[in-house]
């Protein structure tokens, strides 16, 4: 090694900054920095209770974002996640409260999952067989399904759900397991399996993928099914945490889910994105939201701040892409 001079120290620190900037952990680092710098001024921010609260709030968001990440890697989008959350919530609750006994909890859970998968399959079929743009397909699903959920319940919440079911969302270890298992599974699916590689290839260039013999329709379809499945799981957690099934459940978190996925490095144009990145994105947005709430800001300023942060993240990401491309 050469003797270190002032210049080389400087250039190595520049190199370090550069590596950090291009690193996949940038969002995590920013979250930590944000947390550390705000903790002294924000009452209760660093308390154990608050951190557990952040975690509980984060889990359903993350699980819905897992499915969305897979869809977005193919170059698609799923705007219907939150309406799937709402509809599965009220349908599951209807079934569970039908006879009043606790025994129907398992059946209700299965129905929720089944419904989520079916709705995802419906989106997937429309996108792959009718070849409509994903944006339109899932926008229509969103409108249709939320309308249907409200009609079904006549806009009323459904309470008195079985305790066994509520515990899935309320009891943190359960909720954590329900999130972590699919999280790790999809992470491995994307990183280690042929399915994952195919998903990325389709997002990068669907024509090339098709000509190379990749079953593009089947794989794209599977991504939407996965998204429906994840939305149903998110619905289980949300319904449990709020102890009530609501036809407007999750209505306000759609943009958070999409925003967090994009902050986490998933490209809106497909071909790029990871589950780890999405997790960081969700963490970042949740911590930010929490801090703004603790600071007693009005709902308007919270939304404005969140919007600016997502914009900032998008600008940052574009810069990173540009620099990364030049470096190669």
């Amino acid at each position: 090694m050469t003797v270190s001079s002032a210049a080389s120290v400087e250039s190595s620190s520049v190199a370090l900054l550069r590596r950090l900037f291009l690193s996949n952990y940038l969002v995590l680092v920013l979250t930590v920095l944000f947390f550390i710098s705000l903790a002294p001024f924000t009452p209760g921010f660093a308390s154990a209770n608050n951190l557990l609260g952040i975690l509980a709030y984060l889990l359903p968001l993350f699980i819905a974002a897992i499915g969305l990440t897979a869809v977005m890697i193919t170059g698609g989008i799923d705007l219907s996640v939150t309406s799937i959350i709402a509809l599965t919530s009220v349908v599951g609750a209807r079934i569970m409260t039908a006879d009043g006994s606790g025994g129907s909890a398992a059946f209700g859970l299965c129905a929720m999952i089944g419904l989520g998968v079916a709705l995802g399959a419906m989106n997937g079929l429309t996108v792959t067989v009718l070849r409509l743009p994903a944006f339109i397909v899932t926008l229509v699903s969103m409108m249709f399904l939320s309308g249907f959920a409200i009609w079904l319940t006549q806009s009323k919440n459904i309470d008195q759900l079985p305790q066994a079911f509520l515990q899935l969302g309320k009891h943190l270890p359960f909720a954590l397991t329900i999130t972590a298992v699919p999280g790790i599974a999809v992470h491995l699916l994307l990183r280690k399996t042929v399915f994952g590689r195919w998903l990325y290839a389709i997002g990068q260039n669907a024509t090339t993928a098709h000509i190379s013999g990749i079953p593009t329709r089947l794989i794209t379809f599977a991504a939407y099914v996965l998204s429906g499945f994840c939305a149903a799981l998110a619905s289980v957690l949300l319904t449990g945490r709020l102890e009530t099934a609501s036809p407007v459940l999750g209505r306000e978190i759609l943009l958070d889910i999409i925003g967090a996925t994009v902050i986490g490095g998933t490209s809106l144009f497909g071909g790029r994105g990871t589950i780890v990145g999405t997790f960081f994105g969700v963490l970042f947005l949740t911590v930010l939201d929490n801090a703004l709430n603790l600071l007693n800001l009005s709902q308007f300023s919270i939304t404005i701040t969140k919007g600016s942060v997502i914009l900032f993240a998008a600008v940052l990401d574009t810069m990173r892409q540009r620099i990364a491309r030049q470096t190669v």
């Binding site: 990325y200 290839a201 090339t208 013999g213 190669v328």
Partner: protein, 508 residues
């Protein structure tokens, strides 16, 4: 002696410590046409990018009309009268011809904020008449053929009072007739004393059109002078830096008599009519024809990408009708498409990911299909060696950053990994330098010698005649002629491809 229009002196440029241009000096006399040739990566594009304001020089200077010229943006370069006619055209397909021509400087009707449509349509009509394109100024550009679009590009250059027009591989996507029309226009432009640079791999065109030629090799001028001092052989020698005795490798094997693929009566309304032929094991079969004759369409139908109304395709006697590309790949079909960027590669993905596209399932364990990195990596390394991919290109490098020749080798590698039995190649050497072409021909022969059937579509007659065992000629969706190697005859192929109807083609 008048001042030259452009004078390059001592142009030097490095990227990441690698010198791509070393002390380049030459002049473009006003009113001359200079051919610029060299292999991919020789520095032609960098030099032109400097002139076009996309790239800054490290040292050296450009004089334009005797004055120092340092363009920092493409706009600045355009304002100084430098116009590029690119391989990829810079027109907006969703706008009309007139709108494209006047996009940056729409004239307004006096005293109103609205565009003066009459003026731009009149001016556009004049310009179109000048370049000999007989279409309405209000036609959408997307309804024009590739050749017509190119003419519109030239009209655009003329409308901006260009003093220097740079043609970068203008003929790669043109049919023979469109090429002739382009060349006729170029000679008219020469009579008007416009200065032009002509960049092409088609050396015969360069020799025919230009009065001066500059040969670049590895960022240096390998030779320059009057065009009549050069021959194709001498140009090739200068470009590759060694004597290329032959453009084609020697063929050791021979086609067999065993039928591999049998196509009969393939018909799709308005596309193909009653196409029948056989492909033998170990045979290199060529397909010639004009652009629009249905060659690519035939390839796409054979590969299961497009539907076909009637007819049969059989591989060793087994019917292949209505199979998907995926099922055909499993039976040993491979298809190198004419457009490697949009159909052959994922440009932003790495070399390794692109090579793996066709064979991922082979390297996964059967049940869950986990990627076994070890066997995949081994196959990858082997195939890199087989196609002789540039060793400097790393496995993780995005294919976008590779030269055209290396990109094509990645596509070839991807297909060779499936050990193809029927390999369809559509314009396999388009936009690729002489050295890489030779490598691709070598791979084609190797594969044929191992018993595969090769089906090559090409617009370059020399390529088909040099490479193939047999050539089919296609015209307007029909096979019109078939020539075994002993009967190869340029004129006969052209006659077949042009047929009698060609001069009525545009009258509709």
């Amino acid at each position: 002696m008048s001042t030259p229009l452009v004078q390059f002196s001592g142009i030097t440029k490095s990227y990441f410590g690698v010198e791509v241009l070393k002390n380049i000096s030459f002049t473009l006399p006003a009113g001359s046409m200079t051919g610029l040739v060299g292999e991919n990566g020789a520095g032609k594009s960098t030099l032109m990018n400097i002139l076009g304001g996309n790239v800054a020089v490290d040292s050296g200077s450009i004089l334009l009309n005797g004055k120092t010229f340092v363009p920092s943006t493409p706009q600045e370069s355009a304002e100084h009268g430098i116009a590029f006619i690119h391989q990829e055209l810079n027109l907006f397909p969703n706008l009309t011809i007139a709108e494209n021509l006047f996009l940056t400087r729409f004239p307004r009707a006096t005293g109103s904020p609205f565009i003066d449509r009459q003026t731009i349509h009149r001016r556009t009509s004049e310009l179109l008449a000048e370049i000999g394109l007989d279409v309405s100024p209000q036609r959408l550009v997307e309804t024009l053929s590739a050749g017509e679009r190119q003419l519109v590009e030239i009209a655009k250059a003329l409308s901006m009072d260009a003093r220097l027009i740079i043609f970068d591989e203008p003929t790669t996507s043109l049919s023979i007739r469109e090429t002739d029309r382009l060349f006729a226009l170029i000679s008219r432009l020469r009579e008007r004393k416009l200065t032009m640079i002509y960049i092409s791999h088609a050396l015969t065109d360069v020799l025919r059109l230009c009065d001066r030629i500059v040969v670049l090799r590895d960022g240096e001028i390998a030779g320059s002078g009057r065009a009549d001092e050069f021959t194709t052989e001498r140009l090739v020698t200068l470009m590759v830096g060694r004597t290329m005795n032959q453009l084609f490798p020697t063929r050791s094997g021979k086609p067999t008599n065993q039928t591999l693929l049998e196509v009969s009566g393939l018909t799709q309304p308005d596309v193909l009519r009653n196409i029948s032929f056989t492909l033998k094991r170990g045979e290199v079969l060529g397909l010639s024809g004009l652009m629009g004759a249905g060659r690519t369409e035939l390839a796409r139908i054979l590969f299961g990408l497009d539907p076909c109304a009637s007819g049969t395709v059989a591989l060793e006697g087994k019917s292949l009708n209505r199979l998907s590309p995926r099922q055909l790949i499993q039976r040993g079909f491979a298809f190198l498409t004419e457009n490697r960027r949009s159909e052959g590669l994922c440009m932003d993905a790495s070399v390794a990911d692109n090579l793996a596209l066709t064979t991922l399932t082979e390297h996964g364990r059967t049940t869950v299909r986990w990627l076994s990195n070890e066997s995949g990596r081994k196959a990858m390394q082997r195939i890199r060696g087989v196609v002789r991919l540039d060793p400097k290109a790393s496995d993780n490098q995005a294919v976008r950053t590779l030269s055209g020749g290396n990109q094509q080798k990645v596509v070839l590698g991807k297909w060779l990994l499936i050990r193809p039995r029927v390999f369809i190649l559509d314009e396999p050497t388009r936009g690729i330098d002489v050295g890489a072409k030779y490598e691709i021909y070598r791979l084609i022969y190797e594969l044929a010698d191992q018993g595969a059937g090769i089906f090559v579509i090409s617009s370059e007659m020399e390529e088909l005649m040099g490479l193939c065992d047999r050539i089919l000629v296609m015209k307007a969706g029909e096979l019109v002629d078939e020539l075994p190697r002993e009967e190869f005859d340029r004129e006969r192929i052209l006659r077949g491809a042009l047929g009698g109807t060609v001069f009525q083609e545009r009258s509709s």
